[in-house]
Symmetry: C2
Subunit: 234 residues, 2 copies
C-alpha cells in the first residue's frame, strides 16, 4: 500500500478530485509534521541533562524521519509533488513552534508529549472518514514509538525531585494546548479541502457543527488525561 | 559480535588491560563522533535550500544515531560505562565544531564530506592494529551511507552555478583539515591508551615515529583527493 509505486487509480473514493486533494493535503500535513518533529526533537536533544537522554531524543528524532518515506511515496502515487505539498504546511508548523519554543529540558519533554498527543488525537479523528488504505498509512505513521512512556517517567521523577516544577509545567501545558488549537484551526480554515473532509460530502460521512464541537470536547478531555498522567493540574 | 550481550573475556589481546582500555577509548571516540555527527547534520539540515535536501540531511543524521547502539553494546561488554566513556570525548569534538561552525549550506556540506572522510581514514589506519572483532565493528560503523556521493553531486552543481563558490570552499576545506588535525592530535596526546595503541606494544604491532609521519602523509593525500573530487584546489 504505502510502499507501492503504483499510481492511485481514480476510482472509489479517489474518483472525487476533492477527496483526492483532501487526502494529499492531509498526508502532506502529517509528513511535514514528522519533519518538523525531527527538527524539534533534535533541538530538544541539545537540552538533555545527560548523554544517555540526548541519545534517546536523537533516536526519537530518527524514528520520525523514517516515517516520511511512506508518506512521500503515497503523495507521489496520488500525483502530488510531495515536497511542494509538505512545504505548504511549513508556515503553520513553524508558527506553532515559534510560539512554543521550550526554555529548558522539561518544557521540551512536555511539549513532545502534549503536542504529539494532540496531533495524534486530531489525525485519528479525521482518519475515521478516510478510505482504508489512507487510514492505515496515517495510523501507522502516528504509532507511538515509546516517547510517551519516556516523557511520563522522566517528568514524574523531575517533579518528585522538585515539586515547584509541577506548577510551571502545568501552565506550560495549558499554553501548548491553546497554541495548538489556534494553529490547527487556522490550517483547516485555510484549506477548503481539509474543511471539506471534516464536513463530509455527497457520498462521505463528515462532522456537522455539533459533531465538531464534540470532537473538540474529546480532544480537550484526552489532553486533560495526559496532563493528569504527568501529575499536572490542567 | 557487536550485538552480543556476552562480556568480552580477558583472553587473547584482551588479556592486556592496556589494550582493553585502548579499545574502549577508541570505540567511545567513534561512538561520541556518531552522536556529534547527528547533531551537526541536524543543524546543517536547517540550512538546506529545499525541503528535499533537508530530508536527505535528516536521514543522514538518523543513520549516525543507528550506529551508536552496537558501539554502546560493545562498550558494556568490555566492562565500560558507555556514556561516561563517550562523554569523555565531548570537549574535543565540541572544540572542533565550535571552531568550524559552517556559515551556510555549502560550508556544511563540505564539512560533512571532508570531516567524515578524514575521521574515517584515521580510524581505518588505527583499525589495522585491532583484533578482528573490534576492527569489524569500527569498519561497519564507518561505512558511508551515501553522504559522500550526495555532497559531491550538490557541491559540483553549486560551483558550476556560481564559480566564485569554489574559491571560498577551497579555503574552508584547508581550514577544516587544519582544525581536524589539531584536535585529533590533542585527543591522542591526552590519552595514554590511544597513544599506546598507535605506538604498539610487546605483542602488538604499532607505528614508529616514521610510520606516524607516513600515516599523516596518507591522510593528507586522501584529503587532497577528496578536495579534487569536489572540484576544489587544495
Amino acid at each position: 500500500m504505502s510502499a507501492s509505486t503504483e499510481p492511485v487509480p481514480h476510482e472509489g473514493a479517489f474518483a472525487d478530485p476533492i477527496y483526492r486533494e483532501a487526502v494529499a493535503d492531509l498526508l502532506a500535513a502529517v509528513g511535514y509534521g514528522e519533519i518538523s518533529a525531527f527538527e524539534r526533537l533534535a533541538e530538544d536533544a541539545k537540552l538533555a541533562p545527560s548523554l544517555e537522554d540526548k541519545l534517546v531524543l536523537a533516536a526519537f528524532a530518527s524514528q520520525q524521519i523514517a516515517k516520511v518515506g511512506p508518506i512521500r511515496a503515497r503523495l507521489v502515487n496520488l500525483g502530488a509533488d510531495p515536497f511542494a505539498a509538505m512545504e505548504s504546511f511549513r508556515s503553520g508548523f513553524d508558527a506553532f513552534h515559534a510560539h512554543t519554543a521550550p526554555s529548558d529540558w522539561w518544557e521540551g519533554l512536555v511539549k513532545v508529549y502534549v503536542g504529539d498527543g494532540l496531533a495524534n488525537d486530531f489525525y485519528r479523528e479525521i482518519a475515521a472518514f478516510l478510505d482504508p488504505g489512507t487510514r492505515d498509512l496515517v495510523l501507522t505513521t502516528l504509532e507511538d514509538t515509546g516517547q510517551a512512556e519516556f516523557v511520563v517517567e522522566r517528568v514524574l521523577a523531575g517533579i518528585a525531585a522538585d515539586p515547584r516544577l509541577g506548577g510551571r509545567l502545568a501552565l506550560w501545558g495549558r499554553r501548548l494546548m491553546g497554541e495548538a488549537l489556534t494553529q490547527a484551526q487556522r490550517v483547516v480554515a485555510d484549506r477548503d479541502s481539509l474543511a471539506g473532509l471534516l464536513a463530509g460530502g455527497v457520498d462521505m460521512p463528515g462532522f456537522d457543527l455539533a459533531a465538531i464541537g464534540r470532537m473538540f470536547t474529546r480532544l480537550t478531555e484526552r489532553h486533560a488525561e495526559r496532563m493528569t498522567g504527568l501529575g499536572l493540574e490542567h
